[in-house]
Amino acid sequence: MAITTVPGTTRPGRPSSPYAERPRRTSLGRKVRDNLTGHAFLIGAVLCFALFSWYPMIRGVVMSFQRTRRGVTTWVGWDNYTRIIDDPSFWTAWKNTFYFTVLALVLGYAVPFFVAILLNELRHAKGYLRVLVYLPVMLPPASALFLFKFYAYDPSEAGLFNAILKALHLPTSQWMQSPGMTMPAMVIASTWMNMGGAVLIYLAALQNIPGELYEAAELDGAGIWRRIWNVTIPQTRLILALMAMMQIVATMQLFIEPLILANGAGAEDSATSVAYLIYQHGFFQNDLNGAAALGVIMLVVLAGFSAVYLRLTAKQD
């Protein structure tokens, strides 16, 4: 199994395209025409990328150094950045977002991997279990979150989670109304909604592990945990690293969970996330430039994190 990091690269020894490489006597006109045909096929998608992806990327950076008031745009240097950073919510939002990311790593990252290992060992009901795990991924997040908000996290004992806790003689919780529980509650909801994709990807990776490796480990007297530690994890190391990275980038963009479960900020600002702050500044405080600056800060943090992460994983190899 190999992860395709650079999918566009042409493999050596591959027969060349009859359209791309013609016999040498081909005229220049013909070559130009073939290239034009190729670009004609590309143009629609390229325009969409240019308008809605490449251009906004640059525009975001430019906007973050400008201020638009009453239709007049001026350059303001780092003003937007200082204003955003001076906002008392800024540090709360980062603290909350990091906390969510770490909690989601502990719960949301390990759980799908072990679920995949478990499902991979079962010889029965595999299809059914796979459908079950992936089903929540298909729900519109707003629907699933209203379910959690109104039924699961009902702070009275009529709530689903509290009723279960009470039946098990465990202490009940105020869930979203208690600042300490806000983040764990959001991580539970988010993991339930999103883990299906990770489970399926891990399952596919596990199926690519050669059986002989387990055979050999068993002959050497390795127990189940040792086999997981010495065979399963090293064999799936690349996909594990990739998924950790993808998950962190996804969880750092935490938005709809606080918006629906906590009405945005939550009890004592315990739910405010960076993405929610971007939304607040951009679309409620009429400060699109400040929101753009916050977006750039988020991009820099994520890019910096990715660079460090790649460096660390590269060193291990």
């Binding site: 096929f41 990328f49 629907s143």
Partner: protein, 295 residues
């Protein structure tokens, strides 16, 4: 054991067939099946039946397992008060358009980069794939600003379905899936079509597309579910009540609507994607894993 054909995993088949191993195995299967059903299907059951309970019943402790007096009125209220028919129609319309735009433009682009390979094709592909690294939240503000005043054209796309359709075409993951699939189509077939005098378009239509039905299906399903699940972008670019998607519409009404009616509406909103999933689950799951792994 049903069959031995599978490859060996963590625990050997032989071990599971012996007396004690067999007992443990079957206990585990039972525990996992019951546990997963409770964890993943339980909340959905709770949602569907909860929406049938009256306001008093939902507040009672301990909660009832079955609705004592099913209030079908909650579903009817959700349908009528939230104008769900209109919201669902909007969402279907956006999803259908998204499928059409992505199939036409992304397929053409992937075909060009895989088979026609014009000059700078690889550079364009790299720039497209680079967008996978940019978090969506970072782009939300400049994208919004672009949509309310398109550069050069100066058109405002707010409340226009194009504000949903066109940004979705810029989907590097789909292009990557399609290109990878087209790469696996033998060059000999391309050469044969060329010798027969087929144009590039004709080759795409008569040779490549008929072979690519599975991947086109996967891309279409992803397009539909992306539109159905998206929240923030449609909330921003479809501000009027008449153009909202179903998720945004329910959110907009959630404040002033009884809880059970909101849940009833959420159930109705989830039905289409659940049905799509149950029908196409094989394609969806294989598309998901081929996108991330290559084995």
């Amino acid at each position: 054991m049903a069959h031995d054909s599978g490859t060996r995993t963590l625990i050997s088949h032989a071990q599971l067939r012996r007396g004690r191993g067999k007992a443990i195995y079957w206990t585990l299967v039972a525990v996992v099946v019951v546990g997963f059903t409770l964890v993943f299907l339980g909340p959905l059951y709770w949602m569907v039946t909860g929406a049938l309970k009256s306001g008093q019943e939902i507040a009672q402790t301990p909660p009832s397992l079955f609705p004592q007096d099913p209030q079908w009125q909650n579903y009817a209220d959700a349908w009528n008060n939230l104008a769900l028919a209109k919201l669902l129609f909007n969402t279907f319309y956006y999803a259908a358009g998204a499928v059409l735009f992505q199939l036409v433009l992304d397929t053409a682009a992937a075909y060009a980069m895989s088979k026609l390979r014009p000059i700078f094709g690889n550079a364009i592909l790299a720039m497209m794939l680079a967008t996978l690294m940019i978090p969506a939240m970072v782009l939300i503000v400049p994208q919004y600003v672009t949509v309310i005043d398109l550069p050069i054209l100066h058109i405002n796309l707010l409340d226009s379905p194009f504000a949903i359709w066109l940004p979705l075409v810029a989907n590097a993951f789909n292009i990557f899936l399609l290109k990878r699939f087209f790469d696996s189509i033998p060059e000999d077939l391309m050469a044969a079509a060329l010798i027969d005098g087929a144009t590039a378009l004709r080759t795409l239509w008569s040779v490549v597309l008929p072979m690519s039905r599975p991947i086109l299906g996967v891309v279409s399903i992803f397009a539909v579910t992306a539109v159905w699940k998206d929240f923030l972008w449609p909330k921003l670019v479809m501000p009027s009540p008449e153009t909202r998607t179903v998720s945004v519409g329910i959110y907009a009404f959630a404040g002033g609507t009884p809880m059970n009616v909101v849940i009833a509406a959420s159930v109705i909103a989830a039905i289409p994607t659940v049905i799509i999933f149950l029908i196409f689950q094989r394609n969806i799951m294989s598309g998901l894993t081929t996108g991330s792994l290559k084995g």
